[in-house]
Symmetry: C2
Subunit: 298 residues, 2 copies
């Protein structure tokens, strides 16, 4: 167990709705609506927001306005806005647009990495040799994310060793943090416990974040299980948007408002005002529901 | 902790949808549809089903067909069908109709007991002196349920001692089992852990079941927390129906299919076939959604 058994009383919540949520909406959300929601999220007390992704618009047309979003949101606050990057080109665009933190995603499953990024996991990791120093030179914080950490939609189960290998490569590239993503939504609480026990033992100096989907309604159980074992950094998505390209119609990511509610109930601080967040969720559902009625998760 | 730390690998699931779910549906579900769903639930492998409630139709008109439901369902199987009773009159009707198990509900909160049953908790418990021997004489198994075990919609928090007092009265009346209900949907996992630690220590010979609502999406976390501390009997509702008279529009009870999915994922047997259950959930949503579109929880 990473942290003491006395359960320190705060966690960090990383809001990923504007990236992971909006990229999964079928229709086009107007940029000003995205900006409005991101600003609202920031005023609710969230201190870390994944605002967009610098992926080629051919692959994710929903986020083709990445540069404009970054330019238009209120940056004067103490909130860190990050952007996902799939490769060095994404980093270049992020730097051009003054992004302070980028999230480089690599899949622990080779098949999924090829599917998503047209190259093997090893090839993606090799890019770190260019990405990491370039990010550092430009004062951009680099964060790693490991897709398919708990299973792969194409390969099925993924060996813990693969996750550890990717995390080691990230650590060598001096990322500030590594996020473990349950891409398939198939993680379960005992798997979470076991994987984290291994990883916390292996990476005592590397902050680890968790990103759970709620595809089968057990996302929050996984959050709780991770918290019990010592995890203190969680990604979630306002209104539960996003998260489930492999299970159409199913719920998406763990909803930020549910996660914050749970932590507040057990006496764990998040720094977030739950009422503002609920209002933000309501507005997000309104905006997204007007565009893509399938994506109105509760 | 009641059970060993090695976590025995099976739990008992009590389906309460036909009672707790159907009584919360706005329109009238035809009796034959109820019977169809109950029979389907039984064929999915569920061994305990709360089929209806012998409450005066003035209070719960949705279940005015209790006798007909009990008469029409397939009773030849190895499934125990129970019925809720609010008082001795309910027991009389249950006996008349050949019910083999009745659930007598008392609230740990006096205010809620008055609201629901027009008498104090003590007055309800005094009825046990008549109910218990009458049930025994008629070969009907008596089970107790404690409403507001984790908080009260009227009084707020409820002292553990109140829950213990009611459980003791039930134990004295020789009930076969006591169910602890999270009537408000406000239970949280650490509260569950603490309450169960107390109760398991106090009632080592009395089986305790848990009934959680999913009002704020943490119902399954509470189930998991209870399981971690040794609970092995859980109530849930197909399609998540029911459960939230105090939070309109919110999800209802923990959905049986989500609960079964979670337990199967962590290697805990339920005896239930998840695919049959999913199909049953789909049919239930279809039936109920045609009658009460507000009650189509996912």
């Amino acid at each position: 167990m990473r942290q003491s058994e006395h359960f320190p009383d705060s966690v960090t919540v990383i809001e990923v709705g504007p990236r992971d949520g909006f990229q999964n909406v079928k229709g086009e959300i107007p940029t000003e609506e995205k900006v409005k929601i991101i600003n609202l999220l920031a005023t609710s007390g969230l201190k870390r927001i994944e605002a967009t992704s610098f992926t080629h618009p051919k692959w994710i047309p929903q986020l083709k306005d990445a540069a404009e979003v970054i330019r238009c949101i209120n940056r004067g606050s103490d909130v860190v806005f990050s952007a996902l990057i799939p490769n060095e080109k994404g980093l270049d665009r992020a730097i051009e647009n003054g992004v302070e933190e980028v999230v480089f995603v690599v899949s622990a499953s080779d098949a999924l990495n090829r599917e998503n990024f047209n190259q093997s996991t090893a090839e993606s990791l090799a890019e770190l040799a260019a990405i990491s120093p370039k990010a550092k030179r430009n004062g951009v914080r680099l964060r790693g994310a490991i897709a398919a950490s708990f299973g792969c939609p194409l390969e099925g189960s993924v060996a813990v060793e693969r996750v550890i290998d990717v995390a080691k490569a990230f650590q060598k590239a001096e990322v500030c943090e590594v996020s473990l993503a349950d891409t398939t939504g198939m993680a379960h609480p005992l798997q979470v416990r076991d994987l984290l026990c291994r990883l916390f033992a292996e990476f005592s100096d590397l902050p680890l974040a968790l990103h759970f989907h709620d595809t089968r309604r057990i996302g929050l159980v996984n959050v709780y299980s991770a918290w019990q074992i010592g995890a203190r950094i969680f990604e979630s998505s306002i209104a539960g948007l996003g998260g489930c390209p492999y299970a159409p119609g199913a719920p998406g990511n763990v909803a930020t408002e549910s996660l914050v509610y749970m932590f507040h109930r057990i006496g764990v601080e998040t720094g977030v005002d739950l009422e503002s967040l609920m209002e933000c969720s309501r507005i997000t559902k309104e905006v997204v529901g007007g565009i893509d009625p399938d994506r109105c998760h509760g």
